[in-house]
Symmetry: C3
Subunit: 367 residues, 3 copies
């Protein structure tokens, strides 16, 4: 009799358990209190929720997984091309079609390389301009193959979320492309027993007819002994039409009818060293060096090297008991150095900004 | 001792189980890769998330159920009249007040008939214009009575989501109605052992003072042997002020101050045949024939019969292992045939569009 | 053998149970059908969803709790200062740093006093103007200390959600404050064995450089025998720049360039008596008396006492079986009495409005 009851209970629990596997619900939060200095001048303090995203993922049937990640602080109107809003980072289904081979369809994170790009956004205190101005969530299909600790991916996505004319102003006479797609090859490698790891990618995005972006992102991580690691990213984006608009905004600093720059190159180096003091404390330093070059510049008064940007950060992270919870103290400095021709003819001014933050990162598993 | 433990466990499991009954959480997804041809000209390819809705429903207490369905790709600002956004399709509570008798209050799907209307939107690859341009989610009260396999419903809702002037432009001198309500009678029938089923409705919507919409929707489904079925919808909407705006847009094709058409009739026939080849494969063909007539037309150069629209689709659906998952290959053709007077005087052009899609429908039970 | 199985089952159930503690998911709904009379004139009827919010809360680890409350009918674009949308009421983490001492960080309900303010919004049928026009959800840090049934709180938040110039138009020459913070002291008291309870607060908000709001809110609840209770709120807001904008809107009633009023005082008395007839029925009456005074008035034709507003409500609430479900019938009357100088010089008209509602309040625990 009792043995029978036990069987029934076991079955019920197994069914409840299955439900738990198929539904995992996260709240991704980053909050901080901040103090700002521009140059040496005190600018004030404020409280900010830097990141807030809900995430749902799970394995419904063996080999079939879903993932949804949605920002709570973005408008939710659909973009024209992919019919999802920019609030929705990810809405995808992954199917293991063979051992080691997975196809993922839907809106997804682009398969770009680089470690800054690879981390959960709540773990980043300040993005480089390269990633800040990039379209990171696009709709398409990804093919991933795993082999001996290496992962190789090929991804095809729409090259943007909305139609060309809705995104880019100042495109004089540029014609839309019929196949506005982006192609990415990616290698997530692991070498020397994992001491060296890679997030390398090459992408070709067709932005408009005969106008492409070529994007290379080589992220390499090296373990330095048992407690430290170095992450080093090199990113280079050559854009026939200025997707990011950083250079275009400089060109148009004087106002008048907006003209989008063409043949622009953005180049970035990002390095970060983490030192895990002990179980509870982590220290880091991070440096960023970025350039914006206007190869398509036709104004003879201006050098092509428009701007050099520097970023320098350091921080201490404290992990109290709770899983996924991190208290942080950080300093973030930035210096935007415009070419002297630009400061003279276009009135742009170099900027020094400093931010001191105390805050909290929480990848909270609600269910 | 052990018997005692078993009792405690049983109780705990029952309580966990109850929670599971009261919370069901779905992700409704339709994704596709599409290739477009207008007339014979190649227009390009893209990836789209055609539908993305979250749905929560359950029975909290016996006889009391809730349902929420929310689109992830619509703005969420409240409409003026019902104070919910167009992103929220459904937010309702149902109470079984007697055996066979249920009252549902809140924002809900209108009780309109027709099989295209009845299906989950993720199962529709192309709506008819009739339903595409209709307000399908309104706030009010529904009374449903079940008897011998038949369901009869009477529904009263706000006749729109927002105030009249916020929705309809070009209403010269039309006065708002004090009781802007819509009334629907509905019969969801089952005849001949379910071989014939019905989704029939008649609706009267008070759009403005002395201005109504009369809407008839007769959807009938006939089982054709064991593997096939036919669904046939006839829909007719007589609108004193042109709610859908299809005819108004034609009238105003030449620009100038927008004038909303009045006394307009939209009529639609939609037929779909499904053939379930076997457990895993389904094939279908679907045809749509729709007319837009401007009875209130005062321009003697124009016939009242403004436009005839045709739709023709075929597709193959594949059901792999997972419940609620469907892979599809479809062809959708549309032809919009404007009256020759309109093409001549208003410059409107007939349109032929073709779309080939491969994609995925997933009613994913996350919890 | 069986004893072993039992152990395993117990462990599994404990783990499932823990998940249930860490995730509680609510739908907060208030729906109604309403009939409107302005003065004695019938204005019509409609259906409204007055409130719709999702809420998630739980204790992830002992002493660490989260809470998210989000409106489903507000736009979700981020405000500039706190980087969350107005749809998100609450997004906070609470940590018990010591016995009786809790720190809460993130977006939260302000620690203002008053019983109308303290209740769940779905339990309010008509807010006073004071609370309707106030910013109730701000980002910052709260320190709460409990002692002998009393709670004392100190809260520091951003004094607004967005930057000054994005919120307040018509601020001629007012300079933004570097530390745009708001400070609140709060006493949630319990006296005489709980017969008298308090929600008292004093707040100082720095709205702009040398421009503050001083806000006092004293809410007191007295139990009247076993079945009745009285709640009485006095609220007084002295605003150097007119945050609420009620007075400013009157000043600018004639149009022209908008000028924001300064040195404005809003004062409100709200009283509510509840009588719990029995387990299933509750009756209430509520009265509101509010004044808007323009101390900064420079127009000698106008008295400073701009407007007196009255609210008078009564209702019957019925609690059927389901927990958290309430059916209500209410009458709400309002009278806005403008000073005669304003009706004469600015053309403002006194308003009488009446609303009869039948509806439903549901704090629905979905999980």
């Amino acid at each position: 009799q009792e043995a029978l009851n036990l069987k029934t209970l076991e079955k019920k629990i197994a069914s409840l358990d299955q439900k738990n596997d198929s539904f995992n619900f996260y709240l991704n939060l980053q909050n901080s209190a901040n103090l700002y200095l521009n140059g040496g001048d005190y600018q004030g303090i404020d409280f900010k929720t830097n990141q807030m995203r809900l995430e749902m993922r799970g394995e419904v049937v063996k080999g079939i997984r879903y993932r949804v990640r949605h920002r709570m602080n973005r408008g939710t109107s659909a973009e024209g091309l992919d019919n999802l809003s920019r609030a929705t980072d990810i809405a995808s289904i992954s199917i293991d079609v063979a051992k080691n081979f997975t196809i993922t369809g839907g809106k997804q994170c682009t398969a770009f390389g680089g470690y800054e790009f690879d981390l959960n956004p709540i773990d980043i205190y300040q993005y480089s301009d390269m990633i800040d101005y990039m379209d990171n969530f696009l709709t398409g299909v990804d093919f991933a193959y795993q082999m001996k600790g290496q992962e190789f991916r090929f991804q095809v996505v729409n090259s943007r979320n909305d139609y060309m004319d809705n995104i880019y102003n100042g495109l004089n006479g540029v014609e839309a492309s019929k196949n506005a797609l982006g192609y990415t090859l990616n290698w997530n490698g692991s070498l020397f027993n994992g001491i060296v790891q890679t997030r390398w990618s090459y992408s070709l995005f067709e932005d408009a007819k005969d106008m492409n972006t070529n994007y290379i992102a080589l992220g390499t991580q090296v373990k330095l002994g048992k407690k430290a690691q170095l992450q080093f990213d090199w990113m280079n984006s050559h854009e026939d039409i200025d997707r990011k608009g950083i250079v275009s905004d400089m060109v148009n600093a004087n106002g008048g009818e907006y003209v989008r720059a063409s043949d622009v190159v953005y180049n970035s180096f990002v390095a970060k060293v983490d030192y895990r003091v002990n179980n509870k404390f982590n220290m880091f330093v991070k440096g960023m060096y970025e350039t914006a070059t206007n190869n398509g510049n036709t104004d003879t008064n201006l050098n092509d090297e428009f701007r050099t940007s520097y970023g320098y950060m350091t921080g201490l992270e404290y992990h109290p008991i709770a899983d996924g919870l991190k208290i942080f103290f950080t300093y973030t400095g930035r210096y935007f150095d415009y070419d002297s021709n630009l400061t003279e003819s276009l009135g742009l001014k170099d900027q020094y900004t400093n931010r001191f933050s105390i805050g909290m990162v929480y990848r909270l598993k609600m269910y």
